[in-house]
């Protein structure tokens, strides 16, 4: 493995494309905020005070909400929860999707066609609506929001994995591994899927933004996260009633944070594609 040349390539992509560098910086900031969140803020995100609906000041950078809670603290603290929901949904979806797609692509036949049928049925629903239905049926909890988001993302991963495995199934090194006496599971999970990781990595980061949007959309309509918890979607929902009377800071700041996170992941996806798949650059 020419590791140094890979790092050189990463260096080249990052320096030649300032947007990717910016996306990586933003990503680092978001992850740090998620980790350090609660220790960064001056106020308790759940503490109500009598100073309700105050516009942004030096004391409260993002103003206060209808219960006098500090909006800045709530936006910062919410980063962890929002990121956790979408990261766990995408990871779950990736692991299950890649395994299913890999198995279908490697063995083909009825396994392949059954899986294809199942994925088609998922895709036959408007995906956000399906997620709503799943959460409504299985119970209104954060865990079910994660599962629902994972299910609606599943087809994308399974399809990428299947396509990549089908391409590699007949290649020389797979045949060599078979000749050397490796079993099919070992070849699939030990060789073929790791080899197909780069295109799936791109899919992950492109999907992450979409997963955050979906999870926030679900909590905006009252699913998953419950009222006093700080989460971007529910904060926008709580502030929605005040926008017509001009209290803009309740919506703009959590909504802006959400937008920034999604924007970062979308840019990062493009950047990762440049690193892992230079041929497909636009």
């Amino acid at each position: 493995m020419a590791n140094s040349s890979f790092l050189g390539h990463v260096h080249y992509v990052v320096t030649s494309n300032p947007v990717t560098l910016m996306a990586m910086t933003l990503f680092a900031i978001i992850v740090l905020t998620a980790i350090l969140g609660p220790s960064l803020v001056a106020y308790d995100p759940l503490a109500t005070t009598s100073q309700a609906l105050e516009p942004p000041t030096w004391q409260h950078w993002f103003g206060t909400d209808h219960l006098g809670r500090d909006v800045f603290s709530r936006v910062v603290v919410a980063t962890r929860l929002d990121l956790m929901i979408s990261v766990s949904a995408v990871l779950l979806s990736f692991v299950v999707g890649a395994s299913l797609g890999g198995i279908a692509g490697y063995w083909g036949g009825w396994l392949d066609s059954t899986l294809g049928r199942m994925l088609d049925t998922i895709m036959a629903f408007p995906l956000f609506v399906l997620a709503m239905g799943i959460v409504a049926a299985s119970g209104n909890t954060i865990q079910n929001v994660v599962i629902a988001t994972a299910i609606i993302n599943l087809p994308f991963y399974a399809r990428v994995a299947r396509a990549e495995v089908v391409v590699r199934r007949q290649s020389g090194w797979v045949l060599a591994a078979q000749l050397a006496g490796n079993g099919p599971w070992r070849i699939l999970f030990g060789r073929v899927l790791p080899n197909a990781l780069p295109p799936m990595m791109v899919q992950i980061s492109l999907n992450m933004g979409w997963a955050i949007l979906n999870a926030a959309g679900l909590s905006f309509i009252g699913l998953g996260v419950r009222a006093p918890t700080a989460e971007w979607g529910i904060m926008v929902a709580e502030g929605a009633g005040y926008i017509v009377s001009g209290e803009w800071w309740l919506v703009i700041f959590p909504g802006g944070a959400l937008m920034l996170a999604v924007f970062t992941f979308n840019l990062l996806g493009d950047g990762l594609r440049d690193i892992f798949d230079p041929q497909r650059r636009t």
Partner: protein, 339 residues
Amino acid sequence: MGRVLVVFKRVMQAIPTIVGIVIITFLLTRALPGDPAAFFAGPAATPESIAEIRQQLGLDQPLPVQFGRYLLDLTRGDLGQSMTTGQPVMAELIRRLPASLELTLVALLLSMVIALPLGILAATHQDTWIDQVCRFVVTAGVSLPTFFTGLLLVYVFYFLLGWSPPPLGRLDILYLPPTQVTGFYLIDALIAGEFDVFWSALKQLALPAITLALFTLAPLARMTRASMLQSLASDYVRTARACGLSYGKVLRTYALRNALLPVITTLGMVFSFSLGANVLVEKVFSWPGIGSFAIEALVASDYAAVQGFVLAMALLFVVLNLCVDLVYTLVDPRVKIDG
């Protein structure tokens, strides 16, 4: 004749999809944890009354029997009763569907009117500032949460500028809805000749439609740009240019027509997006469509209503996709040979 056969085949292909949708919608309410009978009985129910309701709903039967019963109800157009409104779910959905359809279709139209020229301009002016603007709009478009864009527009155009009416439904309370013909207020008002009602409905519709259009703009513009670039680089465009045809003629007749085919295919994805985003937009603008009905039902754990909503949306999606495919079949002569 061959073309009719292709269309027929495509319509037949939708049947397994519909079967899948019906099975999943059924399983969503029956096989997952949570007891519908307890939901229907309400919080003050005794075990006996829950058992009675379970028997009433047929929930004590084995699953295949329940499924048969569900299918029978479906063929009669019976989706059960909504607990929140006390009306049959089917009646509620039909009453509210025109509002959602009007919003979605106007938004799609608007989004296509903006996205196609934007994508074409970006492709013909590759790597210029127009291309950069297009790229920015596309990336911003997919990053903006619909509900956030909606509220932002309300703040700017209602609160700050006062151009737009308050985000409360389809019509100003001063006006009565026009006599129902299509259920679309814009068309009905024109049919009735009530131009002030038309104007009011249009003003109410503007912001939600723009919100939804902004969201669906991105995939359409991106696809138009990509397929336009591909078709501009093709041999037939070079040949057409070499034969001395004018740039405009080549662009319109050869490049654009071929580039539109992949764009039509992405419409399916766009529909999926916009039907989902529709729910959020309806909540922001208190739009009395099936999305806000579903949200009220979700909050109240109104099972039958949510199930009916998911089924209705999925069937709508199938029908829209079918229409797109049929248009595709009619536009692309090669499909006939392949099919």
